[in-house]
């Protein structure tokens, strides 16, 4: 072999690379000594979760604010004044929420407020555009967020046609009452996007979503694929609309008008 500087560098480089590969091999090996994982027994399961909101029963700002209070308390959602706010569920008027402009609406509909939240679309644009799969679709239809992986690029916010997502522009704990936090659920950090998660952590305990529980029967939550579920029953018996259906996102939140 030629004892030139070039050959020495080639040899040294290959050796270093080889040592790195050998070292990392052992790190990638086994994790967890003989264990397994499974779902909890109390967990409620569905093939496709959906929500039906009876807007006649829950159609005022006060009623919807009560839902928001329950949701935001359960999930440590900060209360930020101004335009960099964070909200998971809130009240909106008919013109704002739906794409059916009507210049002569009936009076009750004109005054009514509608609970708006993430629609957990079947064909969600936010899932399609997320570059890290921090936003992803669970097999049960819920569009979930992994805050550990989110890089805060906000592409999902641009992609959502419903304005359902909020970004943590600042540290959320600055706008939370630290004495009244729900200790069973984390906060988020600044720099990640968040939205309604259909209370996956409560579903895993066999409970209903916080807003459904607080709605005193105005909101129904269940499995769309189960013909006997409460949501299917309501959908059979009442006229319902969804937000912006022409966009093809297939929202899972139905409104009884």
């Amino acid at each position: 072999m030629n004892h030139t500087r070039r050959n020495f560098l080639k040899f040294a480089g290959l050796t270093a690379a080889g040592l790195c590969v050998a070292g990392s091999g052992s790190v990638l090996a086994a994790s967890g000594a003989g264990s397994s994982v499974k779902e909890g027994e109390k967990a409620v399961r569905a093939k496709r979760w959906a929500m039906v909101i009876d807007t006649k029963k829950c159609g005022t700002k006060e009623a919807i604010d009560a839902l928001a209070k329950a949701c935001h308390a359960a999930h440590n959602v900060p209360d930020i004044p101004g335009k960099q706010n964070v909200k998971w569920i809130w009240a909106a008027g008919f013109e704002e929420a739906f794409d059916q402009p009507n210049n002569y609406m009936d009076e009750s509909l004109e005054k009514r407020q509608f609970a708006t939240l993430c629609n957990h679309c079947t064909n969600a644009p936010c899932v399609r555009v997320c570059p890290t799969q921090a936003t992803y679709k669970r097999p049960d239809g819920i569009v979930a967020m992994d805050y550990h992986r989110c890089i805060g690029c906000r592409y999902c916010m641009a992609g959502c046609p419903f304005g359902a997502r909020s970004f943590n522009f600042m540290e959320p704990r600055l706008h939370l009452d630290l004495a009244k936090l729900n200790k069973e659920f984390p906060t988020r950090m600044r720099g990640v996007v968040e939205k309604c998660n259909f209370c996956v952590e409560r579903l895993a305990q066999g409970k209903q979503p916080a807003c459904v529980e607080a709605s005193q029967g105005a909101l129904a939550f269940g499995d769309l694929t189960d013909a006997n579920s409460e949501v299917r029953k309501l959908l059979r018996e009442h006229y319902t609309i969804r937000r912006k259906p022409s966009l093809g996102t297939e929202p899972s939140v139905y409104y009884i008008i």
Binding site: G32, A33, G34, V37, E39, A144, E184, R188
Partner: protein
């Protein structure tokens, strides 16, 4: 052989050695490093896995729990002895290790490690304003 620029080289070497050996000089005469005394849970003697496993692999375990619970929707962990736990930092780990400052932080501070778990997860002793 003549050492060109010898004055500058020797001076530079002395300064470098001074800076490099400064931490050792600072610690000269002090007691040797002792492992921190962790506050162990009162009611529970067995953790998720053995002490040796947790010492070396708790980071990996927490990462796995995070992905299983959040991304896969499987929230129950069956450990090597067959005991079941809910995979949750706040609801399981911190139910026994009730004080982050007296347990987690003790080793983390010594090792100069600051995991970002606590940017979101709430420590059991609560947050100060």
């Amino acid at each position: 052989m003549k050492l060109y620029n010898g004055g500058k080289i020797i001076t530079g070497l002395v300064i470098f050695l001074g800076i490099f050996l400064a931490p050792f000089a600072y610690n000269a005469g002090k007691a040797a490093y002792s492992q921190p005394k962790l506050k162990m849970p009162e009611n529970e003697k067995e953790c998720i896995e053995s002490k040796e496993f947790m010492r070396t692999k708790h980071m990996q375990l927490l990462n796995d729990w995070r992905d299983w619970a959040l991304r896969d929707g499987k929230r129950v962990y069956v450990n090597s002895k067959g005991k079941e736990f809910e995979m949750s930092l706040q609801k399981t780990c911190m139910k026994c290790h009730t004080n982050k400052a007296e347990f987690c932080d003790k080793c983390h501070t010594d090792a100069a490690v600051s995991p970002y778990c606590w940017d979101c997860h709430i420590q059991p002793e609560g947050l100060k304003k």
